[in-house]
């Protein structure tokens, strides 16, 4: 079953499509992963990247990221209409940092403990928000997660107080 039947993509499928950065690059510092495997007519990321690190010749091509130009700033994360961009940083020991889009209540705040969800919405542990900022009401939330979960966690859920 492909992502088009399941509604979520697997690491194997991402790897096959060439969408995962090399391990060495991930360990150097933050870098963006585009989980955008389908050719859809959209090129917003290309325009918003301050480092011109995303390439697309025709408007419907899959975004290709130059992992040497990308510094993982996350500017693209809350601007992607498909919410398909995630910044991963494996440079710190013990923990991985993931920056992901979030459009729900309650509002995320630094220091909050949150539920970590995988691509199927299953809880896979707890994380802590280390940074949160907004672009046009979409949050870019950076959470620290157990290091072995960097390829699993793709959403957070903040329990109501």
């Amino acid at each position: 079953m492909s992502y088009k039947e399941k509604g979520y993509i697997t690491p194997e499928e991402l790897e096959k499509l060439g969408l995962l950065p090399p391990r060495e690059r991930l360990e150097k510092g933050p870098v963006v992963i585009a989980e955008c495997p389908e050719e859809i007519p959209c090129n917003i990321c290309v325009h918003v990247c301050p480092f011109k690190a995303i390439k697309m010749d025709k408007i419907y091509e899959i975004p290709r990221i130059d992992w040497n130009k990308c510094i993982g700033c996350g500017v693209c994360v809350p601007q992607c209409p498909g919410q398909a961009l995630f910044v991963v940083d494996l440079s710190k020991p013990g923990q991985a940092l993931i920056t992901l889009p979030y459009e729900f209540l309650p509002r995320p705040e630094k220091g909050m403990r949150v539920k970590l969800l995988n691509r199927q919405g299953k809880p896979v542990g707890e994380g802590v928000i280390v940074k949160a900022w907004q672009h046009d009401r979409t949050w870019a939330v950076t959470v620290s997660v157990p290091k072995d979960k960097w390829l699993e966690v793709r959403a957070i859920w903040i329990p109501e107080k």
Partner: protein, 491 residues
């Protein structure tokens, strides 16, 4: 009284207008200026707005945009009023209509004033295609009349809370409701654009005259003699045949979207969504944002219909997507209390023993849209049935002109696509109209050529929209071919 109004939302701020009181049956209803009558009633718990004429079955809200006739009511003595697109006003008396209205009991109709106007361009429909068309024509100095059946401009943009895909030149990255605000504001800045909201284009007459019934406080029979007409009346949500499909709570997914995102009224507590096109996927996500639980999203085909990124957004929040599933039954007395979904085999036959019951109060149908082409049919435009376009659509030239000379089509009425193509088609139609009016020179012709090239040879070449492109190719012809069609030759 229950209160379904949303006060806190992650994306929207509901800045409600002045308090308004009106009467429903014998009760006083508190509402806010800017709400439709239906939204105000829904907000305080009403779910049944009419009864079927023969069996007296309850009729609830379905489309919320004036297309489905499910909410016909009597407003200040006027029967057959679509209360979903009728704004609340202080002191009005609203009565439910039990089946067909009795015309003898209708308020004695005053003589409605008839006003005749002449214009270069009449635009019917103030959604993305119509607004863009009106703006492009106005920029080039054309006199424009814009009529819109809803009391708010923007068409379905007003309820789109997601950031738009596509090209930055056509608002990619901007939320739909913001685009509606930007375009409506711009249109009002042009003194050569005359806007009539709450105005329904009821007929096309000889000599390019269009009759428009303007409803509301100051009703008007507007007769517009237009040199050119761009009609962009949009589309309506399709219904689905299953047991109990009449029950209030079975609603077009777009109808629920109107309630929660335009009016800030929560459509229910728990939902199942039927159909996995972009509309179903996007609305499932927006239901979660409005605090509605989504128990499941069913798709009868083996694959998800809409774009993967939309599916991924709800999947990672735990929403189940059941492929090869659909609804077989909605259960409830006067409203939905349960929904039964069932698995289907590859020949679309239900598999016995696979029923799953869900305790929900909403069954949202998103199995596709059908173009609203009544206006073109009545005007005598040659039409063709194209499944990829959503049904019957007018044949048109590359410049969007139908077989009725000087009548252009744009947006979903020309075949179902999405807002970006609606903007582009509206712009192409406006540029074509300008050329006909003699208001555009070489620059307009070049701009139109480039746009047609981008639309057909780049944008619509994306694999996910190529089916729509193929559908539209079947009804798009050259000027020469159109001349033959006008002479009675069918392609």
């Amino acid at each position: 009284m229950p209160d379904y109004r949303i006060y806190e939302h992650p994306i929207l701020d509901f800045r409600r207008g002045r308090r308004v009181r009106f009467y429903y049956r014998d009760k006083v209803i508190e509402a806010y200026e800017g709400e439709s009558i239906l939204a105000a009633l829904y907000a305080v718990g009403y779910r049944v707005f009419n009864r079927s004429p023969k069996l007296g079955l309850p009729r609830g809200a379905y489309c919320m945009i004036g297309k489905c006739s499910s909410c016909l009511s009597i407003v200040d003595g006027v029967p057959n009023t679509r209360i979903c697109i009728e704004p609340v006003r202080e002191g009005i008396h609203v009565e439910p209509q039990e089946g067909l209205a009795d015309i003898r009991r209708a308020r004695k109709q005053e003589v409605v004033e008839t006003v005749k106007v002449e214009t270069d361009l009449l635009v019917v429909g103030g959604g993305p295609a119509g607004l863009k068309a009106a703006l492009v024509a106005a920029e080039h100095g054309a006199d424009v009349v814009l009529v819109n059946d809803h009391f708010v401009l923007g068409g379905q943009l007003v309820k789109q809370t997601h950031k738009f895909f596509g090209s930055r030149d056509y608002f990619g990255g901007t939320r739909g409701f913001r685009i509606a605000e930007i375009l409506s504001k711009k249109v009002k800045e042009y003194s050569n654009v005359h806007v009539y909201t709450n105005g329904f284009a009821y007929g096309y007459f000889k000599g390019g005259v269009v009759g428009v019934a303007v409803h509301g406080e100051h009703p008007l029979n507007l007769l517009v003699k237009a040199k050119t007409i761009i009609a962009a009346p949009g589309a309506a949500e399709k219904g689905l045949d299953f047991e109990g499909n009449y029950l209030p709570g079975v609603m077009g997914a777009g109808g629920a979207q109107t309630l929660m995102n335009q009016y800030g009224v929560r459509p229910g507590d728990k939902a199942v969504v039927i159909g996995s096109g972009n509309v179903g996927l996007i609305i499932a996500y927006q239901l979660l944002q409005a605090g509605v639980k989504v128990e499941a999203l069913a798709e009868i085909l083996p694959r998800i219909g809409g774009w993967f990124v939309h599916a991924a957004k709800i999947r990672r929040l735990g929403v189940k997507i059941l492929t090869r599933h659909s609804i077989v039954r909605a259960i409830g007395s006067d409203r939905v209390e349960k929904a039964v979904l069932q698995a289907y085999d590859e020949r679309f036959r239900p598999i016995p023993g696979t029923e799953k019951e869900f305790d929900v109060d909403l069954v949202l149908i998103s199995i596709g849209l059908q173009p609203d082409t009544k206006f073109f049919a009545q005007a005598g435009a040659v039409m063709k049935w194209v499944p990829e376009a959503g049904g019957l659509v007018p044949i048109r030239t590359w410049g969007q002109e139908t077989s009725v000379e000087n009548l252009f089509v744009a947006g979903d009425a020309s075949g179902i696509e999405e807002a970006t193509t609606a903007f582009i088609e509206g712009e192409i139609a406006a540029l074509s109209a300008l050329l006909k009016l003699g208001l555009g020179g070489k620059e307009v012709e070049e701009r139109r050529g480039k746009l047609i090239d981008f639309l057909w040879n780049e944008y619509r070449m994306a694999p996910v929209v190529r089916r729509a492109r193929e559908g539209k190719l079947k009804v798009t012809v050259s000027e020469e071919e159109m001349e033959k069609i006008r002479m009675g030759e069918f392609p």
